[in-house]
């Protein structure tokens, strides 16, 4: 059952892409093709749900040989364990909802069919990556995902910023991919295979490596993680992701929730068995730094989508941190919960933008089919009442007015459904206790870090815990800042506010579905310890630490593997049980209490700053001006890359061009001149004098001789006859003499 189901899941989006891609190329319009693509995705979702029951504890990969070169052969195949199954559901579910949402959001776009074709290809790539049992398949899916993100981020390629953003995304992730490829090749040279599972797979072989090979394995692990750094937008390769906001908002939701960035976390989790202590620590640090850096940048953003983008980067840092400290389950758990609430936040922001966008399209620019593409000059003139305004004004004029939170406010009455669903997602991401899934997953990671810190008495892990905790507080702060600025208070831009309206049902229904999933209904999949077992790592010789929810076994063993789906529906009551079990581990209790405190603090501060306005963000910004500048300028990463890397490359290119122009061209021209002036002159002289002279001399001699000899030719026959006769007589005499 497994192979046909997985094949179906892969084929649905692929067929949709192939069919509609061809139709789009042929410029034929298919009636209601968006329904067909969406139906294909929904069918894949159903298949994924069916697959959930097929998971067995120690699965074997289903492979076929693909290419064989000499003694080396590459196989292609599927591997279905619990992680794969859950990822399949997340991807197909989010993708389906994004499809549905796009029907409303992208309505009227001139390239509407192409958009759906790309979405299908994107989903296919991610699904292929998830089900592959070997690094080669993962790499193929990985690059396809990169390609699709390039196509979709640059979907409105008429806009310069979108065209630049898609190139930036593609090139930045490519930097990481090179590291990943080198890592793969290192593994391949060692093990002569790229298959991960089975007796001859990398994991089985890596487990038998001697301790001397650990350094080598660490390097390979870190290099493969480089790919994840690029794809999952970890520091220092995170800069592409906020720029990727130039794509249509549903694409942002898909990239940030289910596909592109999840791929990096998924890869890191897949490679978990070969992560050594060193590489784990590097991953944890990069994750922790990313979480903190991105969160602080998000505080000062005013573009609603950029806030969410940095929040994604920050949350991805959390996941990496979780995996890095060995909380395999916690990291993936956060990936799942984050996928749902982040998709919800993005689609919600899309709904808000759509409300404003519709206004632009009607009032100003009837003919412009995608009003996002153009900054509306009218809207830029409106006053910026917000706290950040005086500093923002200098840099922030390139933000599209329909995405600028300073133009929003008081929208909760206009868009009640969007407001309610986004509030749920915000509560979830901020870690509001017990009722929201984000709390459980974030707390799982925090607890995992603290537990590892206490277990190993490791300074590193205490530092990491501090970073994660601080980032959690900041997350709560900036997420509520977003909510307050967008939905509360007085409308700051009356004209835009008047035109805003609730989005159509096709857009609000996905929001509601995702809002339901932001409650801890998905938790049951992860809380069931029998279902997800973290693989062993080389540096942990004790029985593998069964994730954060080690002690849930007692509580949840009554849910069989096959009953997981059924249990999902009644998931709400799990939370009570979880509360109970968390008490068992002191680390988790401490982490939970601390995280509740920082989240509460963050929300409180946000409320004081942006709702009650008892504290002034402006004065704080002025007081900590250098810090504010640092955050506003995103730690100068872009400036650094542009100023150092890009400038260096350009400078280097100029230098080479100059070298080319002077030295290489000089040599070529010099050789040319030498050849022409000296060599050619000499050979010309030789040719004219010697060769021609010889030929002419021969001709002259011949001519002169001919002049003499021709006298013999008298023309008189009788003379000839006389000579002949004389010849005969001579011959006779000669023969007589002989």
């Amino acid at each position: 059952m497994i192979v046909p189901l997985i094949s179906l899941i892969l084929l649905c989006p692929l067929a949709a892409f192939a069919f509609f891609g061809l139709m789009s190329l042929a410029r034929r319009s298919v009636p209601r093709q968006d329904y067909l693509s969406t139906a294909a995705m929904l069918f894949a979702l159903v298949c994924s749900l069916l697959l959930l029951q097929q998971v067995v504890p120690h699965p074997e990969p289903h492979t076929v040989e693909w290419i064989s070169i000499g003694k080396i052969s590459f196989s292609m195949g599927f591997y279905l364990d619990s992680v794969t199954a859950i990822m399949l559901i997340v991807v197909t579910l989010v993708s389906s909802l994004v499809h549905i949402f796009s029907m409303g959001y992208m309505h009227g776009d001139p390239r509407y069919p192409r958009f759906f074709a790309f979405l299908s290809l994107f989903s296919f790539s991610m699904l292929f990556l998830v089900v592959s049992d070997n690094l080669l398949g993962i790499y193929i899916g990985w690059e396809l995902v990169g390609l699709c993100s390039y196509l979709l981020i640059g979907f409105w390629f008429e806009k310069d910023s979108a065209a630049n953003a898609c190139k930036k995304a593609f090139l930045t992730t490519r930097v990481g991919d090179i590291g990943m490829f080198i890592g793969m090749m290192m593994l391949f040279t060692k093990f002569s295979t790229l298959a991960l599972y089975g007796e001859d797979g990398i994991f089985a072989l890596a487990a038998n490596l001697s301790t001397g090979d650990m350094v080598w394995l660490s390097i390979a692990g870190v290099l493969i993680f480089c790919g994840a750094v690029g794809k999952s937008a970890q520091v220092p390769l995170h800069t592409w992701l906020p720029d990727a906001m130039e794509g249509p908002t549903p694409v942002s939701a898909l990239i940030h929730a289910a596909t592109m960035v999840a791929a990096g976390v998924y890869l890191t989790a897949r490679m978990f068995p070969i992560l050594t202590e060193t590489s784990s620590l590097i991953i944890a640090y990069i994750g922790g730094i990313t979480a903190l850096v991105a969160a602080t940048i998000a505080i000062v953003r005013v573009d609603i989508k950029r806030v969410l983008a940095y929040s994604t980067v920050s949350q991805l840092g959390y996941m990496m941190l979780g995996i890095g400290v060995g909380s395999y389950v916690a990291g993936l758990f956060h990936l799942t919960t984050h996928a749902f609430f982040k998709a919800l936040l993005f689609l919600g922001s899309g709904s808000v933008i759509h409300a404003f966008h519709a206004m632009h399209a009607h009032s100003h620019d009837e003919h412009d089919a995608h009003g996002h593409a153009h900054a509306d000059s009218d809207a830029n003139e409106h006053t910026h009442e917000d706290g950040d305004s005086e500093l923002v004004h200098a840099h922030g004029s390139d933000i599209p007015p329909d995405q600028d939170m300073r133009n929003m406010g008081g929208l909760r009455h206009k868009m009640p459904i969007t407001f309610a669903t986004m509030l749920i997602a915000t509560l979830s991401i901020s870690g509001v206790p017990f009722l929201f899934s984000g709390f459980w997953s974030k707390d799982a990671i925090l607890g995992g870090v603290l537990e590892r810190a206490m277990e190993w008495s490791s300074v590193h892990h205490y530092v990491l815990f501090g970073m994660a905790l601080f980032a959690a507080g900041i997350t709560a702060f900036y997420m509520f800042r977003l909510i307050f600025m967008t939905f509360f208070g007085e409308p700051r831009n009356q004209e835009m506010h008047d035109m805003a309206h609730e989005s159509p049902k096709v857009m609000t229904v996905p929001l509601i579905v995702l809002a339901v999933l932001s409650f801890p209904v998905v938790n049951v999949l992860w809380f069931n310890d029998a279902y997800v077992t973290p693989p062993k790592q080389p540096h942990i010789h004790a029985p593998a630490h069964a994730g954060v929810f080690n002690d849930t076994k007692g509580t949840f063993s009554l849910f069989g593997v096959s009953e997981a789906v059924a249990a999902e529906e009644e998931g709400a009551h799990d939370t009570h049980a979880d509360e109970g079990h968390h008490g068992h581990s002191p680390a988790h209790t401490i982490a939970m209490v601390l995280s509740i405190i920082v989240a509460g603090l963050g929300i409180l501060l946000s409320w004081l700053f942006y709702h009650r306005r008892t504290l002034s963000a402006e004065s704080v910004a002025t007081t900590f001006r250098p810090l504010y500048h640092l955050f506003w300028r995103k730690y100068y990463f872009d400036e650094f890359y542009n100023g150092v890397l890009v400038a260096l490359t350009v400078w280097k290119a100029r230098l080479f061009a100059q070298f080319d122009g002077t030295v290489v061209d000089g040599i070529v021209n010099g050789i040319g001149r030498v050849t022409r002036d000296i060599l050619a002159a000499f050979t010309g002289f030789f040719d004219n004098r010697v060769v021609d002279g010889l030929v002419n001399r021969v001709a002259q001699v011949t001519w002169a001789m001919g002049g003499r000899i021709r006298r013999i030719q008298t023309g008189a026959i009788q003379t000839y006859l006389l000579i002949v006769l004389a010849g005969i007589v001579v011959l006779i005499l000669v023969f007589r003499a002989l």
């Binding site: 030719q713 023309g715 008189a716 026959i717 009788q718 006769l725």
Partner: protein, 102 residues
């Protein structure tokens, strides 16, 4: 009569022919010289055949007859050429026809 008599006659005819060919100023006379040469050859063939080879072998005589026929054909061609030369140059004197002079 022995072979020598025939050969002497033949040699005389040949010499006369050569002399005519080399000295005459008229193409017709040259033709007549050539005929003499040919006939001296025929005489030789017939004489050798009669005196040297066995009597039943008459190859020499046959070749002599061939030679006569040949001479007739040759004379026809020669006369035709002379006619053409006359039309072209208005003369049949060989020393006046020297267009191929080098």
């Amino acid at each position: 009569m022995s072979l020598q008599h025939y050969l002497v006659i033949s040699a005389m005819l040949f010499t006369l022919g050569i002399f005519a060919v080399l000295t005459r100023r008229n193409a017709i006379s040259i033709l007549m010289g050539i005929e003499l040469i040919l006939n001296s050859c025929n005489l030789n063939f017939a004489a050798f055949s009669r005196f040297v080879t066995p009597p039943e072998n008459i190859d020499g005589q046959i070749i002599a007859i061939f030679g006569i026929v040949l001479a007739a054909a040759e004379a026809a061609v020669f006369l035709a050429i002379i006619l053409a030369i006359y039309r072209e140059f208005g003369s049949i004197r060989p020393n006046e026809v020297d267009t191929l002079k080098g």
